[in-house]
């Protein structure tokens, strides 16, 4: 599985330390690099496309165990493969302690620790940082595009919303495959981290109201910088049927919900979730989704909608509308 945690670029191979840590840790702390994950990183360094530099994104990592990456030190000396840690501010002292040959480079406000023989130049590092930021989104775009299935018999009304659609984006493929789920969840968790940092909502709780949103919301709960409480309601979509009415009584007031969804098309589930929140004296302040079919601002004036992917750009064949839609 280590090779599946790597994204390939023409000039380097890329991985995310949090992805490695999540899949490999014995105890469930994805933000802490432990020995098992260090071993996986070593396997990647040694075996996955060893002719190219390895770029490891440390974004979101809180720390690492002593000697978690000690196994890499001899490999560095032996293989002399370029190894670059980006977004490494939180780990820099520990990385340098374990891998003495690392040099530290400021790159556009980021801390980069690099090893190479010869050491990579500043322009090379800048290019790695710039390109690496896009790789994960490119990967997610490809996954979402592949999840689209056109309807065999032409446009049909969707179950969750009275829109005509040329097909459906099915998040099952992004959840069923563990590696796809890892990349998707990491980006969603970071989106939630961003909105918390930017908007500073108080009394935040994650809210999922469908079967397929539940794993995504739970992953965000476990991966986000601040572990946010999670509320799952079974279920408001695609078919609206709340099955545990009795357990919805006595919910706290004043909560700011961050609505987590797989895809938001017409926004019906979001609307229902808003109604539920208002009934309990709460609000839905934000919505995070893998993709949206409309522009985020079209959904609600009260909810800040933050998609990872624009579905119309991701798959131009996907059409949505109320009346006739252009056949693809």
């Amino acid at each position: 599985m280590p090779e599946r945690l790597v994204l390939h670029h023409t000039d380097f191979v890329y991985t995310r330390m949090k992805a490695v840590s999540w899949t490999a840790n014995e105890t469930f702390f994805p933000t802490m690099l432990q020995a098992n994950a260090g071993q996986v990183l070593f396997d990647i360094y040694q075996n996955v496309d060893p002719s190219k530099p390895l770029v490891v994104n440390c974004q979101g990592m809180a720390g690492m165990d002593d000697h978690a990456v000690a196994c890499i030190a001899p490999a560095l000396r032996r293989q002399k493969r370029t190894l670059v840690f980006i977004n490494a501010e939180s780990l820099e002292p520990l990385l340098r302690q374990s891998l003495e040959t690392l040099s530290v480079h400021p790159v556009g406000g980021d801390v980069v620790c690099a090893y190479g023989d010869p050491s990579p130049s500043q322009p090379e590092l800048r290019q790695m940082v710039t390109v690496a930021a896009r790789l994960e989104f490119q990967r997610l775009n490809a996954l979402v595009k592949n999840s689209y299935r056109p309807f065999d018999d032409g446009p049909q009304r969707l179950t969750s919303t009275p829109l005509l659609a040329s097909g459906v984006f099915n998040a099952r493929s992004l959840i069923s495959d563990p590696i796809s789920f890892v990349w998707t969840s990491l980006l969603m968790a970071e989106k939630v981290d961003e909105l918390i940092q930017q908007d500073e909502p108080v009394k935040v709780r994650l809210l999922a109201v469908s079967l397929r949103a539940s794993p995504l919301a739970a992953a965000v709960n476990l991966l986000a910088r601040n572990e946010l409480p999670l509320e799952i309601i079974d279920h408001m979509g695609p078919k609206h049927k709340i099955l545990e009415e009795h357990s919805l009584k006595g919910i706290s007031h004043g909560i700011n919900y961050v609505f987590v969804a797989d895809f938001i098309i017409g926004g019906t589930e979001l609307k229902i979730a808003e109604s539920y929140a208002y009934r309990n004296g709460c609000t839905v302040s934000h919505a995070v989704a893998i993709g949206t079919a409309l522009a985020p601002s079209d959904y609600s004036s009260r909810v800040r909608v933050l998609p990872l992917v624009d579905l119309r750009q991701c798959h131009p064949d996907a059409k949505f509308g109320f009346g006739q839609i252009e056949e693809c």
């Binding site: 469930f28 069923s176 563990p178 079967l211 794993p215 999670l230 695609p238 099955l243 009415e245 357990s247």
Partner: protein, 575 residues
């Protein structure tokens, strides 16, 4: 009244393979269904089991261990102790090289060790290298004969005259007058002129290798003596390729039974897999037989598909030989039905043996339930026939700091252990997350293990969900290429949801796929102390985080109706 269950010819070749009904992964279901078919046919419960040889195939003595498991399981289903199970040797149960060089004891060493676990070891009245007299229950003695000793390894053996004299002259004469004598031989000691059939498989010398001619004098003397004294004798034989049942002389009965095992598909044969239950009534002077035939689902046998059909008749006195049944129609008849079945008495429900896998996490769960007041009492309709009286809100429970991580960690450790135990790779297992919290746990386990996972909506039996949230084509495809499936739930109450998931897989992926998979179950909460009627015998292994929380289940008839005691929760399709 004496009742004997006769089985024979297991012919175990590869218990870990995929083609034998008695293989490790299927024998329990196969035998459970046999016992259930007998029960549904109104057959009485046998008092003992007699098995007449060829437990292993062609000297594969390493399979005696599994033969022990098969017989023990069958006995347990019928609540029969091992001291009431009698076995005799078949020509394929011995080591050929030793037999050829006349080292008869060495050739039978493993069989003797196997037999010693049953009445052959614990209920012996008399023993001789050629046979033994056992007591297998009140009023039933069993004479087990070695019809293979001497001669060539694959043909019936010799029987010296002194042995005949001792057995017929002493042992049989000294039996209590009221006892039924069951004589168990692998090879038939009756010559064709005695019987209603003359089956030779197109081979004129067939009788030389299938009829125990040397045993005929013993048979003559025993039948003559016992007929004269009005004492019933039941001759049970294996090996025979044309099963029959017949009264050869007054109260002297012969029953041969078809094989219970062997691989499928084997050579096309009109002889179905069989077991027979014989009831001998001394007072009425007659015997009744329940013949259980395992009918294939199509024209050819299949290692997973088929149904036990039971026919009841008196033993034949004459007339035409047993008819060969026509092949079953070509519609698939899965061995597992979608209706709930009460497990046979004595067989524990898989969920009643469930244990908490980590006592520390269990204690944290119990503490969180108490402190957050998450336990509710009411009427919760989660099954068709039963009602759960308790409910735990899993969402607030798993929001307890660190508890979700703790559950995921211990689930992951348990899963790794099961992969090793069952020799599975992660990509050979599909994880099914049942409903929202099951989907949460399944997706996390999928990341940690590398196995594929699917979210399934089970509440309301899919009525409130779209196709992608059920057992869809993608799920069926994944299951078809897998060896095991792990169903992950938040709370298991009646077990009906697990059963429903299984039945959905049967219905949409096919019974062959469903029964070929090893089924595992993991839950956050499951109370082993509850009596459940949902048939969950398809489960190979199950685990839970918290087994110590009582979640009472009652049948709907045991509580007031809904106008008096309204439902707190109902998912719709179960009511």
């Amino acid at each position: 009244m004496c009742r004997v269950l006769h089985v024979t010819d297991f012919h175990l070749i590869d218990p870990d393979g995929e083609t034998e009904h008695l293989r490790r992964r299927f024998y329990q279901e196969y035998l459970y269904r046999l016992v259930e078919a007998l029960r549904l046919a109104g057959a009485p419960v046998p008092g003992c089991i007699v098995a007449t040889g060829d437990f292993v195939d062609r000297g594969r003595i390493e399979n005696f261990g599994h033969a022990t498991a098969v017989l023990t399981y069958l006995a347990d289903l019928l609540q029969i102790g091992p001291e009431r199970v009698a076995v005799c040797i078949g020509n394929q149960d011995l080591v050929k090289s030793f037999e050829t060089s006349r080292k008869y004891d060495e050739a039978r060493k493993e069989f003797v060790e196997f037999a010693g676990k049953f009445a052959n070891g614990s209920a012996v009245k008399a023993m001789h290298p050629w046979g033994g007299l056992l007591s297998v229950g009140p009023g039933v003695s069993c004479l087990i004969m070695d019809s293979t000793r001497g001669n060539t390894p694959l043909a019936p053996g010799e029987l010296p005259q002194p042995v005949i004299d001792e057995i017929a002259g002493l042992w049989v004469h000294d039996l209590p007058e009221q006892d039924l004598l069951v004589v168990a031989n692998h090879f038939l000691p009756f010559t064709p002129e005695n019987l209603l059939f003359d089956y030779n498989e197109g081979n004129p010398t067939w009788h030389e290798s299938h009829v125990w001619v040397a045993g005929k004098p013993l048979q003559d003397r025993i039948c003559k003596w016992r007929e004269q004294h009005g004492q019933p004798t039941l001759w049970l034989c294996g090996d025979i390729h044309q099963p029959l049942h017949q009264v050869v002389q007054p109260q002297q009965y012969v029953v041969t039974t078809g094989r219970l095992g062997t691989p499928t598909p084997g050579a096309d044969s009109a002889i179905k897999r069989q077991a027979r239950l014989i009831e001998v009534s001394r007072s009425r002077g007659e015997a009744t037989v329940w013949t259980c035939n395992f009918e294939p689902a199509g024209h050819h046998e299949n290692p997973n598909l088929g149904t036990w059909k039971v026919e009841c008749s008196n033993l034949r006195y004459g007339g035409a030989g047993p008819a060969v049944a026509a092949p079953a129609p070509a519609t698939l008849v899965p061995t597992v039905t979608a209706t709930s079945v009460v497990p046979a008495a004595g067989v524990p429900h898989p969920l009643s043996t469930i244990c908490a896998i980590d006592s520390q996490i269990e204690e944290r769960v119990l503490q969180a339930v108490r402190e957050k007041d998450l336990y509710s009492i009411g009427r919760f309709h989660t099954g068709e026939k039963e009602v759960s009286l308790a409910w735990v809100s899993v969402g607030p429970l798993l929001n307890e700091p660190g508890l979700l991580r703790g559950v995921i960690s211990c689930m992951s450790r348990w899963f790794s252990k099961k992969l090793t135990e069952f020799g599975l790779k992660p990509n050979e297992v599909v994880i099914l997350g049942i409903d929202c919290w099951g989907a949460v746990l399944a997706s996390q386990l999928s990341v940690l293990s590398g196995s594929t996972n699917f979210c399934l909506a089970a509440r309301g039996r899919g009525e409130h969900n779209i196709g992608h949230e059920t057992v869809s084509q993608s799920v069926c495809e994944a299951l078809t290429h897998s060896k095991a499936v792990l169903a992950v739930s938040d709370v298991i109450a009646t077990g009906n949801t697990l059963r429903w998931v299984y039945d959905e897989v049967v219905a949409k992926a096919g019974a062959e796929v469903a029964t070929s998979l090893r089924w595992l179950s993991f839950s956050v909460i499951c109370d082993p102390a509850q009596h459940r009627t949902a048939d969950c015998l398809f489960l190979s292994d199950q685990a839970t985080v918290c087994a110590g929380l009582r979640m009472p289940i009652l049948s709907r008839e045991a509580i007031p109706d809904e106008t008096t005691f309204p439902a707190t929760l109902s998912f719709g399709s179960e009511t």
